[in-house]
């Protein structure tokens, strides 16, 4: 099973829905995902159909947080499953998002 990314746009908001597995075998496809954020004010990552995420996937999320700050885009997470939520909580993803959006680095 791989990763499918569905993109949705509504005005200045772009939603990326991650379906499947976000791990070392799929995360390299995401490098270019956030290159072009022209005209985007809000970026939403929808994890409601994410089945598995490993450390490489977490690394992508952390980089996306930093990139969103550089590009002045507001990043939000939606559709958190219990397991994904637990992982984000344990490694500190929410606190990094909060810290970057509140204070920057």
């Amino acid at each position: 099973m791989g990763l499918i990314i569905e993109k949705g746009e509504l005005g200045t908001t772009t939603v990326y829905k991650f379906i499947g597995i976000l791990d070392i075998s799929t995360a390299n496809r995401l490098d270019t995902l956030l290159e072009d954020t022209f005209g985007i004010n809000t970026l939403i990552f929808d994890f409601s159909e994410l089945d598995f995420i490993d450390s490489t996937g977490i690394g992508f999320i952390i980089n996306a947080i930093y990139l969103s700050q550089e590009k002045n885009v507001h990043l939000k997470f939606e559709g958190m499953k219990e397991l994904t939520h637990q992982i984000f909580e344990t490694v500190g993803v929410y606190r990094i998002l909060d810290g970057i959006q509140r204070e920057g680095v």
């Binding site: 070392i24 490993d54 490489t56 690394g59 980089n63 909580e89 500190g92 606190r95 990094i96």
Partner: protein, 282 residues
Amino acid sequence: MFFDSLTYNYQTNTQERQSTIDKSLQREINLARNIQSKLLNGKTPTFEGGEVSGSSLPARLIGGDYYDFYLLVNGKIRIVIGDVMGKGIPAAMLMILTRGAFRSAAESTQGPGETLTAMNQALYEDLRTLKSFVTLFCADWDPKTCLLTYANAGHNLPLWIKGKSNIIEELPIINGIMVGGLPKQVYKEHHIHLEEKDTIFFYTDGIIEAQNGMGERYKLERLIQALLKNKDLGAGEIEKCVMTSINEFTEGVPQRDDITMVLLKISQQKTDISSLNSPVLG
């Protein structure tokens, strides 16, 4: 396309060159594996009143998991376990970087919280440049007071096996961001009192995420069962039993993540620490 001796020689030479490069790369990877294995599975400290043991099994030839012990001059033992983002050679390189930072920080810091704070300070810029991070759990075991003091940088909580009962639970929660996540982090500490026959099981998530041929995961429940079943054995024996349990479950299916565990087992309370000022490396 045509075939003549010139083309043939070119192809043969190219194949030979590629074969030589492959062999050379394989040899270097094996050397790197040996270096990592020796650094990871180095000397295990011995001390009165308990024992520690650790092992790591990389999913690929080399891995990004890390554990270490550091004997402090006050008789305490500092334990660290960590998981570097990614797999294989890149993760292994960062693991060596992490080891250096831990050894350096352990020497100059008072407790596990300070150690993680110093490590984040030392590694943050490099890890951000490389778009990577490492989760770490660090703990000081004090045989004199029977206190385990710990701090967490984004790692899963170790399991506390209470030897006098059939209870296994996670250590009381303490939060901290992964090393490399944000700069200027200060890691808080928490402590617990351990009793005779208690065991602390530190591990990386490769254990509970190990998969069998059906795609099922080993999960925390199976780990807890394996630990309960073998809790009265020594640290090294428990470690072997857990590994056997994982192997029986996975039935030889190649794993996606490294598997690492460290055990601290308390054998007697209120140890006479007069001999502990200079713990012995065995």
